[in-house]
């Protein structure tokens, strides 16, 4: 007993946490196993009965989890891309080529002291980052990542997107008001003015596209653009793309429209008083926003998950592993060895200075690469959702890089210039775009 108490007293804080959490987890797992074993069938029936709910819950969970690696990847792209534009090296000590840098930043913020300044409104102060983050995450639900891969195919998906995306300004305003700090207040008010005034050109710029597509379901819009890349809406809505991208950049508070966290003017904007993970929410939400506006641009104008050209020679791969029977076992057991040896032989006979084990290691690596490539190609051909996701992510990260490029290059606009640009240029341009599209549709239909 005394041993345990002494050990407990000597545990550090993380140690205490871990030692309290682990037994609870074990107990919960055991209980879960028991439950499943005892009444597994009824649960399965219940789940099968209402599949859409299960599907939605699953999708929501996956999307929520998916935002974290997305934020890390975008953050790393930003660190490294801006570093290269500054003729710097950028992070290269943490992980291979500094790939773990943004992860460490995030985890570090998780571990920092998180406090509420005296005079702040604790409730609002605490919930503001959550709202900002959720507003970003929930918009991901309607974005189709691949054929059949979407949280929910609302037939008002686009409207839902703008409505939820507009929620983030509420969070910023709450943060600015609750921080009890003048810089934060200014930042929140700027955010409100900016986001609300850019909502209008943002929404108007896609109305023409809605007229063309005849639907507001993002999945349907993507399906309309299938085929060759000439079918993408970017070629029918060139003006709309420009307006949409600019307005979306302003929506996400990215340079040159990052007035809400302008370092050199209002210290960190609405996030001035935030520390620890509550600031981390803002920090991630920005990166998630970058990915989201890229993804939406791709979805609306650049064919979503469609390949730019249909696969020229259609291959149908019918995988029936069960047909091989015992042969499958032999295949799994033998093929790796065989491949390893096959790839090792050239090294082995190439030079006598290469020892056998070295040749075998090289062969093993090459064999694995070969297998991975094989499986990937097979998956690309066999399952169209793999191809879709691949194309979708590729296009999206191209636009993410575009945003990083803008951040590295452009200075910041002033508040009045921001407003002038929204109301004097973007709004008329989007209206013009709308009228021209409508007229064209009328002319063509007659």
């Amino acid at each position: 007993m005394t041993v345990i108490s002494r050990s407990w007293s000597r545990l550090t804080l993380p140690g205490k946490v871990i030692f309290t959490v682990i037994p609870i987890l074990i107990a919960l797992t055991a209980a879960l196993v028991v439950v499943i074993v005892v009444l597994g069938q009824p649960i399965l029936d219940a789940l099968a009965a209402n599949l859409p709910i299960v599907r939605f819950a699953l999708a929501a969970t996956i999307v929520l989890l998916m935002t974290i690696p997305t934020a890390f990847i975008v953050g790393y792209m930003e660190l490294k891309g801006i570093a290269f534009m500054n003729l710097r090296i950028g992070p290269d000590r943490v992980g291979p080529y500094g790939t773990l840098m943004s992860v460490f930043h995030g985890l570090k913020m998780l571990m920092k002291e998180d406090f509420t300044p005296s005079g702040a409104d604790p409730l609002v102060f605490t919930w503001a980052p959550v709202i900002v983050y959720l507003a970003s995450v929930m918009t991901l639900l309607v974005i189709p990542f691949g054929p059949g891969l979407f949280g929910q195919d609302l037939n008002l998906g686009l409207l839902y997107f703008f409505a939820i995306g507009g929620l983030s300004v509420v969070g910023m305003l709450m943060a600015g008001w609750a921080s009890f700090n003048k810089y934060s207040l200014l930042g929140g008010l700027r955010a409100a003015a900016q986001v609300i005034s850019y909502e209008i050109p943002l929404t108007l710029s896609v109305v023409g596209l809605i007229l063309l597509a005849g639907t507001m379901s993002l999945n349907q819009i993507v399906l309309n653009q299938s085929g060759w890349f000439t079918d993408w809406y970017v070629f029918r809505q060139p003006l709309g793309v420009v307006i949409f991208f600019i307005a979306a950049t302003a929506e996400a508070n990215r340079t040159p429209f990052d007035l809400t966290e302008a370092d050199s003017e209002i210290v960190a904007g609405y996030a001035t008083e935030y520390s620890g993970m509550r600031f981390g929410f803002f920090y991630f939400a920005e990166f998630v926003n970058v990915f989201i506006i890229s993804a939406l641009t791709v979805t609306l104008f650049f064919g979503g998950w469609n390949a730019p050209f249909p696969w020229p020679w259609p291959v149908t791969l019918s995988l029936d592993p069960g047909g091989l029977g015992i042969g499958l076992l032999l295949l799994v057991a033998i093929v790796p060895l065989l491949l390893t040896i096959v790839f090792a032989i050239p090294f082995w006979i190439a030079s006598s200075r290469i020892k056998t084990w070295q040749a075998l290691v090289a062969g093993f690596v090459l064999a694995n690469l070969f297998l991975i490539g094989l499986v990937g190609a097979g998956a690309y051909i066999a399952f169209d959702w793999v191809a879709g996701v691949a194309w979708f992510l590729l296009k999206s990260y191209v636009f993410v890089f575009l945003l990083v490029w803008m951040r590295g290059t452009l200075p910041r606009v002033r508040v009045d210039q921001l407003m002038d640009f929204a109301w004097k240029w973007l709004l008329p341009a989007s209206l013009l775009n709308l009228f021209v599209t409508a007229a064209a549709i009328v002319v063509v239909s007659q």
Binding site: A120, D258, S264, R414
Partner: protein
Amino acid sequence: MTTTSAPSDDPRIELDRDLGVFEPVPPYPPRTEREAEFYTLGDGQMFINVGPQHPSTHGVLRVVLKIDGEKVVDLDPVLGYLHRGVEKLCENADYHQAICYTDPLEYVSSLFTEWSPVIAFEKLMDVQVPRRAEYIRVLSSELNRIASHALFLGWMALDLGGLTPILWSFIERDEIVDMLAALTGQRMLFNYFRIGGVNGDLNHEFMSRLGDWMSRAAEQIEAGNGLLNENEIFVRRMRGLGTIDAKTALRMVMTGPNLRASGVPFDVRRAHPYSVFPELEFDIPTRSEGDCLARYLLRMDEIKQSLRIIDQCLHQMPDGPVMAKLPRLMRPRPGRAYAAIEGPRGQLSTYAISDGTDQPFRMRIHDPSFIHLQSVGLMMPGHLIADTMAVMASLDPIMGGVDK
């Protein structure tokens, strides 16, 4: 003077007074009419305290803004957060040490802050400086001027939200500063100018670095400007901002680029020549607009002129000693001397009084940053908060020089 709750404008005491938020109103009744006028709020107005630790104030300047929404109604700079008592220290050190104390004023262009006291002391002692030393002074100080202007470019862009230009201009600055370190032995606070000459002659490393850099300096600087000069956002933000006309500039006793940007061709190198500048040929670029863009472009023109001067120095450099014969312990006979030079920010001058001992009796250092900073209050009202930073950056103050 008791240590308990002495009234002061120290933010921490303000902090304790009311929870959390910092109201920059001083806790004592106003002492001057200007203070009384400033610290009374109209309706819809509020104070916002910028600094003393703010990313955009170059150093530890504190500016109290009286704003109406985003619009700046009035502002009141509060100085002294970097006041190091240089003049008093100079009066308590002998003449060589005094030069060392003046180094960290204007720490991005230290050679100039050394130069004016050195000339003043040489006047006190009637020292004849070798011509080679004068040429070396001009050469190294013009290099320093280019480094200072390069930093100005970067800060200008940084305060407007551009990330990249400052890093590019720091590349220039590092090259120049490294070659100066090869010459003087220090990277920033080169204590290089001595009474009667310079500390050391040109060495090979410096010359090779200089030649290497001169061969590609022009297009490097052009590349740096290219980021901003054609940038629509940058130009739109700078044009017509913080305009000040020639007469007002003279009333505000502004000097240097900020005065020349208003159209007054006053340059100490020509108006009151010192050193070997009469023998060198260079233009004095002036602009008539007097706004931030003019100040920015004018400094870019000055960089070209400095390159011209460096080129001439390298060609006309005479041989000979770089240091006059002087006693180690200097006791100039009583007298007064005044020396002014043209720094990167304007006229830097020193007024030295000798009482016959080996320490200056009084040493007054006049710094242009200090003068220019007070004209922000003249330019700002009516502009936005974001413009405050742009205007301050365009005046290019160095807090070390402002606070001495």
